[in-house]
């Protein structure tokens, strides 16, 4: 009897510990959100979105050029990354049994595990050392981070399309590629777009590869072979600076970035509810 009680007590204690662990794990999330909203909201006004980054002494200013730069960089990155990721995803789902598909799928997974700073160094060695710090180098680095995510999600999205739809199309005598491009693709469209959006959210927050391929830059876009400003990287530069107005800008930038990233994550979750 005594032993039985002991087991029950142990069970209760472990239950409490398990929920405690969940609580501890979530504290940083709520703390991060609370602090960003509380400290960032006071910085945000119209000027914050339309004025360029101020110099150290200036009180007035915003992050307009960083917003422009980030949009250009992730736009370029998706121009490179989306087609490669998407078509690779199609290949992996259509020809999933080939040996080469197994290899590519595995490499794709390993690629997603390479630290982003190493991707940055790779692009630094490959591009920056010949053409200099530039948007194009940064976009290339970000596209390498993007490709594994897009490939993975499009492969899975295409595999979810019921076989009966393909069979119906094949029975009508439609070639395999047309079946895929016209029929399978349109029913997997939503899930594929979801994957692309999530990869955009991911690269918008990347700062390490941007740092080593573009460096800190606070002016407007001046050509593809020149650097642009970047919100995520600016947070690093502003936060580690000793200037009050820059630190305030860091919190404002963090608020903008977190709204974009968590916004995409939450929207994706709401629109695809029941699917995953």
């Amino acid at each position: 009897m005594n032993y039985y009680n002991l087991r029950i007590i142990k069970d209760r204690i472990m239950q409490i510990l398990v929920y405690l662990a969940l609580l501890i794990a979530l504290i940083p999330l709520f703390s991060v959100l609370y602090e960003i909203i509380q400290r960032g909201i006071s910085v945000i006004n119209i000027d914050f979105f339309i004025k360029p980054i101020p110099t150290v002494g200036e009180a007035e200013g915003g992050i307009a050029n960083a917003i422009q730069g980030t949009i250009i960089t992730i736009g370029l990155a998706s121009l490179i990354g989306v087609p490669i990721g998407l078509i690779s995803g199609i290949f992996l789902s259509e020809y999933s049994d080939l040996k080469i598909s197994l290899a590519v799928r595995f490499l794709n997974d390993v690629l997603s595990g390479i630290p982003s700073i190493v991707v940055g160094i790779f692009v630094y060695a490959l591009i920056v050392r010949s053409i200099g710090f530039s948007v194009i180098a940064s976009a290339f680095a970000l596209s390498i981070i993007m490709i594994p995510i897009v490939t993975r999600t499009s492969e899975e999205a295409l595999k979810l399309v019921p076989m009966s739809i393909r069979e119906a199309a094949i029975a009508l005598g439609i070639p395999r590629w047309k079946t895929l491009v016209i029929i399978v693709f349109s029913s997997a469209k939503k899930a594929i777009i979801t994957g692309i959006l999530l990869s955009l959210a991911r690269i918008a927050g990347e700062s390490a590869p941007v740092l080593v391929t573009m460096g800190y830059w606070r002016w407007w876009f001046a050509g593809l072979n020149r650097p642009v400003s970047n919100i995520a990287l600016n947070i690093f530069v502003f936060a580690t600076s000793p200037f009050e107005n820059w630190i305030a800008l860091a919190w404002g930038s963090a608020l903008v970035l977190i709204i974009f990233i968590l916004g995409i994550n939450i929207a994706v979750r709401i629109f695809t509810r029941g699917r995953y």
Partner: protein
């Protein structure tokens, strides 16, 4: 014997017609070739990353050889580069991160898969996923202005007064430092490890659980068997978390203090990691050997992360497949 000959001829005939048929190049063939070329780009990028980083490290490898990994001096002025303190710093902070995050992740994984009702489990799983979506640099910002003051003023003071007799808890408290670095890494690793834990526990066949419960086991006793059932997957998840902590850059650069020294005087002292020194010095490196040494640090990071990822993914894949296979039977 004759009975075997006929089907043989029949088979040959079929292959001939098949080959004739194959001579026409269809749209499907083009489709296969084009898509496979795109998939090969992934392969190409992968090879190119290894080749390029290896090539650019050559200068440093030829100059220092193995001393690069065992040297303890990093002096750009006298052109001597040894990365051992960086390797130790990266290793120790990642281990601290694992010590903190593994028990918590285990709890989170169990709460999400076993303890909570399904609907709540979905909601909290989503919150844990959001934790993973927060960018590194934002954790760094939060680390500097929220976590460091909190740790310095309440936790570290307390640790020092109670455990100060142990050398690693003595010495001046700056706020930022080795332990803070480990804690911020732990926060970033928890969502990754716990998500894999949850998936592992969720795919354990229900019949297994039912069998244990039928024997009169309490929830905790059931859970203990679940953990041992997915043991190798759990280990794989921990290795994967280690790999993530190992290469983490921005957040740890912002809180660890960035001080190059062989060993810090205590857990509160500043240190350095491999990723952090690249982020801090690559843009300021003025001569080729310096740049090559930094890329060489990147090569070490790359090789370790490749090793960890290949190992961990093989383990996790195998477990998931194994358990799924049993579930199907």
């Amino acid at each position: 014997m004759k009975a075997y000959q006929e089907p043989n001829n029949f088979f040959k005939y079929n292959i001939k017609t098949l080959l004739k048929f194959k001579k026409t190049f269809t749209g499907d063939d083009a489709f296969k070739i084009i898509t496979s070329l795109f998939a090969l780009i992934i392969f190409l990028i992968f090879v190119l990353i290894i080749y390029e980083i290896f090539k650019e490290s050559q200068l440093s490898i030829q100059t220092f050889g193995i001393k690069f990994l065992t040297g303890t001096k990093w002096d750009p002025v006298s052109q001597v580069f040894g990365a051992l303190p960086l390797i130790l710093g990266t290793l120790i902070t990642s281990i601290i991160a694992l010590i903190i995050s593994v028990p918590i992740s285990l709890g989170v994984g169990l709460a999400l898969s076993e303890y909570m009702p399904k609907s709540l489990g979905f909601l909290f799983s989503f919150l844990v996923e959001l934790l993973a979506a927060v960018p590194s640099v934002i954790y760094g910002l939060w680390g500097i202005f929220v976590l460091i003051p909190f740790l310095r003023d309440s936790v570290y003071q307390f640790l020092q007064t109670t455990l100060g007799f142990i050398p690693i808890f003595s010495g001046p408290i700056y706020g930022g430092g080795t332990l803070t670095g480990g804690i911020i890494l732990a926060i970033m690793v928890i969502p990754i490890i716990s998500a894999i834990f949850r998936d592992l526990f969720l795919i354990v066949p229900i019949s297994q659980k039912e069998a244990i419960i039928a024997l009169g086991a309490t929830k905790w006793e059931t859970v203990k068997i679940l953990i041992s059932y997915t043991r190798s997957g759990v280990i794989g998840a921990i290795i994967l978390g280690f790999g993530r902590a190992f290469g983490e850059t921005m957040a740890i650069t912002m809180v660890i203090g960035n001080k190059f020294q062989f060993l810090p005087s205590s857990l509160f002292d500043a240190w350095y990691t491999m990723a952090a020194i690249i982020a801090n010095e690559l843009l300021e490196a003025t001569y080729d050997l310096y740049i090559s040494a930094l890329i060489n640090v990147g090569l070490v990071l790359l090789l370790v992360s490749l090793l960890i990822n290949i190992l961990a993914r093989l383990i996790v894949w195998r477990t998931l497949k194994l358990v799924k296979g049993i579930a199907r039977e």
